[in-house]
Symmetry: C2
Subunit: 185 residues, 2 copies
DNA sequence: ATAACAATAGACCATTCAGTCTAATTGAAG
DNA sequence: CTTCAATTAGACTGAATGGTCTATTGTTAT
């Protein structure tokens, strides 16, 4: 069986992803984990501190996994990037709820410096990986700007009304992005 | 002096924009308006109903104003669109907090059907206006997809970490989008 | 002037919130 | 077995939540 602390982090990650920080209550978390309150507060001293741990131990790894391009050997960097963009479509939760980092960012960054800082670190790490990847392509374009553009477009595409969200719609929305990237080769 | 009902709607719009639906309490609203609770509940029967009214009477008009292209006479449709994209940079609040429709969408659409419906109506209306605009350009591309791509990219660019948000950064992020649009002429 | 309704005023309510506290239970080390 | 800390357990707290209720004040029509 999963250790209590890990069980809590998993539950908090999922609940905050869907309901947001302010939309997730401690009682929802306790119910989902089926643990007593004393256990939770034994591991974490407050709700905020707990979610900050979730950002580090759950959100950061899941984002980094997505932008880990080290395996791709001799492909053109832009094709590696395009593959990553397409791969997003296969993750049902992403298509349905959007990027968890972006969601939390929009909710919390404007109102809490600690969240903003934690989220910004992950964002910059992602962006750095893309910039490094694109660096190997000798493009005419500014790769810093290009990396940010790609992230913005993917995040935006994932945030379009969940009402009609689907794998196809995401891929449609992202088609011009891919067309543009191809022209840069 | 502004009528009470309008004063409430303005305050709720601003507070929900920054703090989100769940992050905005009735007491925050009452404090900002400096009105007693009885007045507020005289005009609105609940928090939810009140915010739905804000969506209709404040959010929808402010979004529609942005995508009203009727005035531009003989310009190329793509230039009209590019102007609109650039104009976003001049709105400090947009650059700082992101698109209010997108923010509310991400927070509420996954968890409340009524919010999702109200937000989707505004979104579709915006998109329709862009599609009509692009229709006058006889492009080789699918204008439906292109419209969604543009909205996604702008929303995404506005959502990138508020920590370093600025007019310049937004314009940078959006540069590849504009470059791409120019190639379609 | 008075009736009738709209609007203001804020005390009050049940519930939920995040968080505390003490006690019981477990598990590992000696 | 005993000791001692880690963990589980959940009753409890004070503050904040969204919402109700009754009383008062303004305004307008007759």
């Amino acid at each position: 069986m999963q250790p209590t602390r890990e069980k809590i982090l998993d539950a908090v990650f999922e609940l905050v992803y869907v309901y947001g920080y302010n939309g997730t209550s401690m009682s929802m978390i306790l119910k989902k984990c089926e643990i007593p309150k004393g256990s939770l507060y034994h591991y974490f001293k407050s709700k905020k501190e707990m979610v900050l741990v979730v950002i580090e131990e759950r959100l950061a790894p899941s984002m980094n996994a997505f932008y880990d391009f080290t395996n791709d050997g001799n492909k053109h960097p832009l094709d590696v990037l395009i593959d990553a963009i397409n791969k997003v479509a296969t993750k049902k939760q992403l298509v349905l709820y959007g990027c968890p980092l972006n969601r939390l960012n929009q909710e919390m960054s404007p109102i809490d410096k600690d969240f903003e800082a934690a989220i910004t670190i992950i964002y910059k790490h992602m962006r750095a990986k893309i910039i490094i990847l694109l660096g190997g392509a000798n493009l005419q374009t500014n790769t810093n700007i290009l990396a940010e553009f790609v992230i913005a477009t993917v995040w935006g595409a994932l945030s379009l009304s969940p009402a009609q969200s689907s794998e196809e719609r995401y891929l449609d929305t992202v088609t011009p992005l891919i067309n543009y990237l191809i022209t840069l080769k």
